[in-house]
Symmetry: C2
Subunit: 383 residues, 2 copies
Amino acid sequence: MDKFTFTIEAEEGKARVGQITTPHGKIDTPVFMPVGTLGSVKTVSPAELAELKVQIILANNYHLYLRPGLEIIRQAKGIHNFMSWEKPILTDSGGFQVFSLGKGNKGDHNLVKIKDDGVEFRSHLDGTKHLFTPEGVIKMQETIGADIIMCFDECAPHDSTFEYAQRAMERTHGWAKQALSFHEKQGRLSEYGHYQALFGIIQGVIFDKLRLESAKYISSLPFDGIAIGGLSVGEEKIDMHRTLDLIEPSLPREKPRYLMGVGSPEDLLEGVERGIDMFDCVLATRIARNGTVWTKLGRLNLNNAKYSSDFKPIELECDCSACQQFSRAYISHLIREKEILGIRLTTLHNLRFLMKLMEQVRVAIREKRFKKFKEEFLHNFEK
Amino acid sequence: MDKFTFTIEAEEGKARVGQITTPHGKIDTPVFMPVGTLGSVKTVSPAELAELKVQIILANNYHLYLRPGLEIIRQAKGIHNFMSWEKPILTDSGGFQVFSLGKGNKGDHNLVKIKDDGVEFRSHLDGTKHLFTPEGVIKMQETIGADIIMCFDECAPHDSTFEYAQRAMERTHGWAKQALSFHEKQGRLSEYGHYQALFGIIQGVIFDKLRLESAKYISSLPFDGIAIGGLSVGEEKIDMHRTLDLIEPSLPREKPRYLMGVGSPEDLLEGVERGIDMFDCVLATRIARNGTVWTKLGRLNLNNAKYSSDFKPIELECDCSACQQFSRAYISHLIREKEILGIRLTTLHNLRFLMKLMEQVRVAIREKRFKKFKEEFLHNFEK
């Protein structure tokens, strides 16, 4: 199992169930990938992730490059060893972070400079100058050693002009080609000798012409998978849905498709319906740290006074350890008192909620009742 | 097992190995009790506490009375159910907190008013006025439902005058008698019908005359156990040791002795040598949250740059999950980045360190080599 493969096992409309194999194990798709930016899914241990049936997690090249730095990860013999997680990992290239965070401490957008060979930016931590190039970013990710790595891309703001969006897309296309040829030269291998799948990223903001052009271009290159970037960054839902509908026919059926940064329960179902196989998002863990949890009947904010004497579990049918052992009243008390166990429990619940949702999605597609499942879920969740 | 018993199983000098039985299980002594002030040992889940072989934890009447409030705990049918911890629990009366925190938001010591029937203070959370009486504090703890409860006491500052220390001690003695007679009237039972052991507290600052008087008085009353309060509150070590040596002959051999608020590795050994059976302290968990961990060879501060590329576990021989799975480099990275997993791991390690230390102490006393064990431990730990 040292190659990257993707097999489609069932389909319903555009929705698909499949399996990805990587050097660190298999992944059933559609899959939600929890985010561990700095090499830790916030508040959760690797053993707990495995208990939640998490199949793959994300880490971020921009953040790991700055801290702890690549030399530390090299000495640890890669990110899997460093963080003690033996299952698959995907690293984002950091393109998104360079443009959103790389303005140094002064926050001046002009401090992010696009040069011929790459992008110069300032660390959001200490203002030091750094240069990311399409090849350099691949090399960094080869040192980090994830199973799936991403091209360096420019995620233009959702309110960009057509002209800017076009320039950013063209840059992203050029970088994609450079990244691919660089990684190809290394035999698509990490520093530790295992195969690293490389995904290209489609951009184009919400301009149909650009999105279609980008989808076709990225699909034409020999990537292991296709990512869709620049969505769920502030645009209207309707624009995201239209864009996904628009580009789907241009995506190769046989490659996994990854919708970057998307992860509310509703958006996961909308994405699956439109043929997406992989998702990641900080939402589940971020709202958990504010005391908000998902249930089949919608969101609960455990800071709300009524939960302080509610002795039911967050969700009666849930098999997560928060629901198996603790009441809303107790967790609500912990959240109010800023006890860390509180946000551990809400995080575990929200992650398990998404894992279970995706398990149900996979079964529903196999049984050709995904459309009905989606309708019922949303009916209960949004009422 | 619905009564409270204490059996001494082995002795070496004044040091003793024993076993306490409570309605929620047995406790091997000498024992260190982790502190879960608000019904949660900071960062740790009950399942993890059990894994660490924690036998009993502490909670605090002052804090639980203010938040979540006794009515919530009553509805949960007691603190064990509320926090999902089935083993023994001890609640401190909150005497210490009333005097140290009960000054409201303005911090004016005069806002703590000693009245005929008890002490009026202001909540450190919202400045509201509250009255704690010796009987009321027992009633509150009967609602919380711990296995061991404490008398309301006044812990005078370590630099008190003799006159003030004497008045505080005399008040504490009067309150002790009232507490005992009130709890006796309830059959020494919690609201939920299980036996609650009541401990009296010796005070007297560092005045030998007062300490001796207090030890004799508290020992003369039919308490289930004897606590020593007002030490480790800023006085010199030598004064703590002298006080313990002074009062030990006055303490009934057959009752467990609890040295309140003491819990550095060195102080645990000094206490055991002087005949103490029970200890609690926030030190282990508090320093963990600053990135400091204990090893046999002393303290490590994982914020120190040298640990960022140190791939050894915190302690090679340690069986805690932090040491079994993670390197100093990884934990140091997490601590630096304020990732919660980092302080979870340092907390687990420090608690396990104390649990293991007390396991070794118990074996050493049984084998009549405690004195040697203590010398060797301190030699390595302090060098």
